[in-house]
């Protein structure tokens, strides 16, 4: 098996605070891994380092064997890694279709101009996350939190990732929506997508992952099957002692 994503001795300091503390793990191609930990454990910060939104203090990040630390975010996305945001950040004055359109665009000015939008693919992506065709022209202001998360998923999928990092995709969703996004993730796993999923909703997370990693204060505290990890003493203590 090939390694899709690997992180080695990753350290991130924000002034005196160590948000990522000598963290190392690897994800095989096609694998789905849950990343858990209490509030402020450093999960999102790991994502932003993988995407290059924050530069790590030290350590390495490899994507399919290539060290990507020096690449821009756009270049990393072209290499096949993409993320959703815990707080959805849509383009507020654009329709659902246009939001997805931005995700589908090539990072090439000339092609942006001469090639028209792929409206079929826009629709296909919108439908796959559970939008109806009539939702395409709605704007973010008219969407519920659940819809905003779906849009976030669709725009992330639009960039054509091989590895998807999902940050709290279930937060604020109804039971029905959680099932819908869960089904979508299962279907994509079947198609070979690699996932790293952050979720506080452990029940929703469990069926979606092959194994789990728990971190606290930026450092790994447990690794193994989902059950092993959530039954781990240190993990239980961290959740009880955490701000959650």
């Amino acid at each position: 098996m090939t390694q899709a994503l690997s992180i080695t001795n990753l350290v991130k300091r924000f002034g005196g605070l160590t948000a990522t503390d000598d963290l190392s793990f690897a994800i095989e191609d096609g694998e789905s891994v849950g990343l858990i930990g209490p509030n402020g454990a450093g999960k999102t910060t790991v994502f932003s380092q993988i995407m290059g939104e924050h530069r790590q203090t030290s350590g390495n990040i490899h994507l399919y064997g290539e060290e990507i630390s020096s690449l821009t975010t756009a270049a990393r996305i072209r290499r096949g890694v993409s993320r959703t945001y815990q707080v959805p950040r849509p383009f507020s004055e654009m329709s659902v279709a246009e939001n997805i359109r931005v995700g589908l665009m090539p990072d090439n000015i000339w092609r942006m101009i001469v090639e028209g939008p792929n409206t079929e693919r826009e629709l296909e992506l919108a439908l796959s996350v559970g939008f109806a065709e009539s939702d395409l022209q709605r704007t973010p202001a008219e969407l519920s939190m659940g819809d905003l998360r779906k849009l976030e998923m669709a725009r992330t999928m639009a960039t054509g990732p091989k590895v998807m990092l999902l940050d709290e995709v279930f937060a604020g969703l109804t039971v029905g929506e959680i099932a819908q996004i869960g089904d979508l993730i299962q279907q994509m796993r079947g198609d070979g997508m690699t996932f790293l999923i952050v979720s506080h909703d452990l029940k929703a997370l469990e069926p979606l992952v092959d194994r789990a990693i728990a971190i606290n204060y930026g450092a790994m505290i447990a690794e193994g099957t989902f059950t092993e990890v959530i039954d781990n003493e240190a993990v239980r203590a961290s959740y009880l002692g955490g701000v959650a």
Partner: protein
């Protein structure tokens, strides 16, 4: 691009209407319209940059001035033909656009706006002290070769330029590039998160905007035949451009054209009653009222009216 029959019809009617204007209006009005055409070009330039990407330029005369001075100096001082000097002026202005881009890589919002204002002030001071033998110093230059004689020809040239710029930009902004530039204005982080280089997109916006400003500035100076730094690098001129774009409807290309005509005629009709700077007070008030009624500008008012008409049909 999603072009519809009424797009062709409206553009066709607009062009035919402009072509017939010299038959319908007085020479004096035509001169007013010439100014409106150039103001429209400047407002489109502002719109491509600030209307789209949200990087508000308060110093657009900086760019216009680079284009104007470059071609004025080349033609008057060095006898360079306009066929050569105007393209050089456009390229020089684009280089100026890259200078304005530099702060935009680091700062946003009002900081960026203040810096552009500083650019305008800087060039105003510079043209007066650096090589006044070339720039004409404080007094500026006169006797810059003009391209046309008479109001009618001046009108046709300005109208042709304005329509070319407006149509080109309107088409361009309807492509995915237009969508991407708007995206930069809404959320730059999400643009990066969508796999696009926000920096490159900003560069495209600044270069396009500068090219249009340089083109407009160069032709404008060859229409006027004189260049007066105090009138050119003036905050009221910068504001007129911004207000034209905003009350017309930012980020629409057509809006700034409508706004430029609206403002020019408003100022013109106020002239007999208020010859001084008080006029700007009135137009500021009118702009504010319009803005409160419809923040998206006249373009949106017309668009909604049109949608209602089509809804009835």
């Amino acid at each position: 691009m999603g072009l519809r029959w009424y797009h062709f019809a409206l553009w066709g009617a607009f062009i035919v209407g402009l072509a017939l204007l010299p038959e319908l209006v007085s020479k004096g009005t035509l001169r007013t319209i010439i100014f409106a055409n150039y103001l429209a070009i400047f407002a489109i330039s502002w719109d491509v940059l600030s209307g789209r990407t949200g990087y508000i330029s308060f110093g657009h005369p900086f760019l216009i001035g680079i284009g104007a001075y470059t071609t004025a100096i080349l033609t008057k001082r060095f006898g360079v033909p306009v066929e050569v000097s105007i393209p050089i002026a456009v390229l020089t202005t684009m280089a100026g656009g890259l200078i304005v881009l530099l702060p935009a890589l680091r700062v946003k919002g009002s900081y960026f706006a203040m810096i552009t204002l500083a650019f305008m002030e800087l060039i105003y001071q510079l043209v007066q002290v650096v090589r006044p033998d070339l720039t004409g110093g404080t007094r500026g230059m006169s006797g810059v070769p003009t391209l046309t004689r008479g109001a009618v020809n001046g009108f046709y040239l300005s109208a042709f330029l304005m329509v070319s710029v407006a149509l080109t930009m309107w088409l361009l902004m309807r492509t995915r590039l237009g969508t991407a530039l708007s995206a930069v204005g809404m959320n730059e982080e999400s643009v990066r998160g969508s796999g696009l280089s926000a920096t490159r997109l900003k560069m495209v916006a600044f270069l396009l905007s500068a090219a249009i400003a340089g083109l407009g500035g160069a032709f404008y100076i060859h229409y006027l035949g004189t260049i007066a730094p105090r009138a050119l690098f003036e905050i009221n001129f910068a504001f007129t451009i911004i207000v034209a774009a905003l009350i017309g409807g930012a980020s629409t290309i057509i809006g700034p054209v409508i706004g430029a005509f609206f403002l020019t005629f408003l100022l013109e009709y106020l002239r007999p009653y208020l010859p001084g700077a008080e006029r700007y007070l009135i137009y500021g008030g009118v702009a504010l009222l319009l803005y409160m009624y419809q923040p998206r500008g006249i373009y949106e008012v017309i668009r909604q009216g049109w949608a209602r008409v089509r809804g009835l049909a």
